[in-house]
Symmetry: C2
Subunit: 230 residues, 2 copies
């Protein structure tokens, strides 16, 4: 039995969704809330598996509430029930979508979806999947494809480099100085300079800063997942 909570400041809308879901044999609406603050309290108390969350609400909006809920979940880690959030809203500007995904939402659907699809979304998310409105998936894909596809012609230029030169370039893109690169690759400082020079020359770059840009643009280096502790 899936335990669901519905969060929306409009009681009528809330009841509507709740009724649709409660009508399913394997779904039970265990709580409702009208604000973000209420949602957090109610979630603690009733431990729902799935939360349907509106965005525009008084006191605390749904995105903020989602972030807090999933953040505390992280802290509780192994122990508690890991609840999952589906954002259910009338609007879908990119900003909302991104913030929602960043907050850890597993779904983002618009309120105009047919009831069966909503039920389907709940089940999908409960199964560990994710559900986005078609148009949103579309945008997500195109954003993603853009990032991926960006460095194609650049990656070709990358092939003109020798193995060693690529290693040096990667080290440069790591923020290393020539001396550090020498140490990391077990070669002399002079050798590093030679490699750096040929990298710049072959790629048509002027200095190591441009080399870093190149590395990121062509995908040799990627944002995210680095400690910029230097």
């Amino acid at each position: 039995m899936l335990r669901v909570m519905v969060v929306d400041d409009q009681a009528l809308v809330r009841r509507g969704f709740a009724l649709v879901l409660d009508n399913e044999p394997d779904i039970q609406v265990v709580a409702e809330a009208g604000t973000g603050v209420e949602a957090i309290e109610a979630a603690r108390e009733h431990q729902p598996d799935i939360i349907l969350m509106d965005i525009r609400m008084p006191e605390m909006d749904g995105l903020e509430a989602t972030a807090r809920l999933l953040q505390t979940e992280e802290r509780a880690e192994a122990g508690d029930t890991t609840c999952r959030v589906i954002i259910l809203t009338t609007f879908d500007p990119d900003e909302y979508v991104f913030r929602a995904l960043q907050a850890g939402a597993s779904g983002f659907v618009l309120k105009d979806i047919p009831p069966e699809a909503l039920v389907e979304a709940v089940r999908t998310v409960a199964d560990g999947g994710a559900m986005l409105a078609p148009g949103i998936t579309q945008r997500l894909i195109s954003q993603f494809a853009q990032k991926l596809g960006a460095g194609r012609n650049l990656a070709e230029r990358l092939e003109r480099l020798t193995t060693r030169e690529r290693e040096v370039l990667a080290a440069i893109a790591d923020g290393k100085s020539n001396a550090e690169i020498a140490e990391a690759l077990f070669i002399g400082a002079a050798t590093v300079k030679t490699h750096v020079s040929s990298v710049l020359s072959k790629l048509g770059l002027r200095d190591r800063a441009q080399a870093v840009v190149f590395a990121y643009e062509c995908g040799l280096a990627t944002a995210g997942g680095r400690d910029v502790g230097f």
Copy 2:
């Protein structure tokens, strides 16, 4: 009426999908193909709206075929029918997914989905949406959220900079030299050096190369959509 083409090297599988789809009143399977090469020919001839494409095929795999089909579509631009591709495969390694999205596919679903869901996917994609298998959506989201969320604590460090310093940092992340920054910001070269110094100092960086790394990691600069022409 949606014109669909099914591409799979296993005739039995192909027929199965075709039958399921043909059974729908608003869907008509207008062509089938067993290889990528055949798919491209058949697509030209029958102008389907939607193509269900397997990946593993002889002669030319589905990803390659998808890329070529959608590439030529780009060339034909306004004129021709813009067909959309759904990748339909048994496997879902990230590599396949990414290449598929990069190639321009609008969907990526696994062969184990229930028939109704396949039909639904076809309709969704025909409507201009995108459909991914739930687990894939999940991964796409987490990859995306990671990239988005990566620079949060870094972005805080960014706030310690003044407006001008952020502008200078952005220019550095653009691969500009101090002289070029001076020209771009209409200030003296000496001033640029002052700003650069305080940027490095405030962010705890050593040189402009590390500054570029920082800019990318915190989201001030993003890969994709730049001419690395320098």
